[in-house]
């Protein structure tokens, strides 16, 4: 079983906040409104679908998922 890890590409993120709205358990925004992954970005199995949705809804393609 591979584990998913999410991260936000800070160069691409423009602060649309879609990931934070869809998966607040996995993403949070900073004081400028730009997003980053919470903690180490590891995705518990029950949040994998939300992680995928967050990636697919980012208008800037800033949300990345890796399989570890």
């Amino acid at each position: 079983m591979k584990t998913l890890r999410v991260r936000v590409d800070a160069e691409r993120c423009q602060g649309h906040s879609r990931c934070c709205a869809i998966a607040p358990e996995l993403f949070e925004s900073d004081e400028l409104g730009n997003a980053h992954a919470r903690g180490d970005g590891l995705v518990p199995p029950q949040l994998e679908a939300k992680a995928q949705l967050a990636m697919k809804n980012c208008p800037e393609h800033a949300v990345r998922i890796s399989h570890e």
Binding site: Q14, G15, H16, S17, R18, C20, A21, S29, D30, E31, L32, G33, L53, K56, N57, C58, P59, E60
Partner: protein, 397 residues
Amino acid sequence: MSKHAPVADWASDFDHRDARWIEDPFPIWEELRGRCPVAQSARFEDGAYFASRYAEVREIAYDSEHFSSRRVIVREKKVPTQPAPPITSDPPEHTPARKLLLPAFAPLAIARLEPRARALCRELLDAIGDAKTCDAAVDYTQHIPVRLIAHMLGVPEHDGDLFRRWIHLVLEVGNSDETVILPALQEMSAYFMAEIKKRGTQRGDDLISFLLDAKMEGQPLSDPHLLGTLRLLLVAGIDTTWSGIGASLWHLATHPEDRRRLVADRSLMPTAIEEFLRAYAPVTMAREVVKETTVGGCPFKEKGQVLLSFPAANRDPAKFPQADQVLIDRAENPHAAFGLGRHRCIGSNLARLEMTVAIEEWLARFPEFSLAEGAKVTWSEGTVRGPRRLPVALGKG
């Protein structure tokens, strides 16, 4: 009656002020997507371009080397540029001007406005009371963003009529009659100068005070920067969101199956709001070509004006399956209603809050409504699209 010559060919002679475009632009964009990714028009000074597909809109939005933001409205005659940082800024000036404003519009800062937003929606609904009909645009949607932005700026909420007049002149009338623009901008600047004077050394907890104390690279803002940004906050935050709320209510008035579903299952609200934003994105931006280039195989000549249509991009079936269908449970919806790239609408969190609260409160009060019999719905012209007259019948009738 249209005051502009009728359009015979949308690909070579488009006009976003044309009555057909204003009423129902979607078939026009669909036709253009199929035959000509970049339409042209000689009706506007130095020529204008219109990209109808997502790919080209995205490419232009990301390319500040060839496409400048110094003109963000396509006009028949170009007027001297009026800086309103950061929307009219290009790199490298853009980043500090934007960073300055971002904290005031970040999700947590905006969430604090929810109680005021909800209260003002309820005040408006109370005024409609148990009427059998009302104009949802005139009696409801047009008042919501204007009052909330007044609240944020720390100016009287009843100055809203004044604000809406300025916006109408700058964003609609001014597209064809440039003589109205400068006086409107001057009136806005005079209004804000008076507000600045009132604050003297006594600051309040409002955006004007925030900007008076703000520093950009260690320096306070210059008067032109400060006034330009204040005018921007007023112009950009009002008829845009009013249009978004209005278009959503128009959809729910004309699609009873979606209205009933949303009333029955409020957990659909987030996807419904995103879908209304996609399908009825109110805001079309513009750029000016500063260096000749080619996009989508089409040449863009220097000085040309570019209509940057996020609404058209959002309807591109190459990007969004069933793009012409409004699906209130659409799960994958990376729409571009708030723009793409460095100029992402700074007020997007505010707009979402206002739309969500306004629709929730309306549906809580009027779960049953439809267009009034013989209703004449009118839509605004060109740059910001939304219903300006929306007569509805309330209740089951």
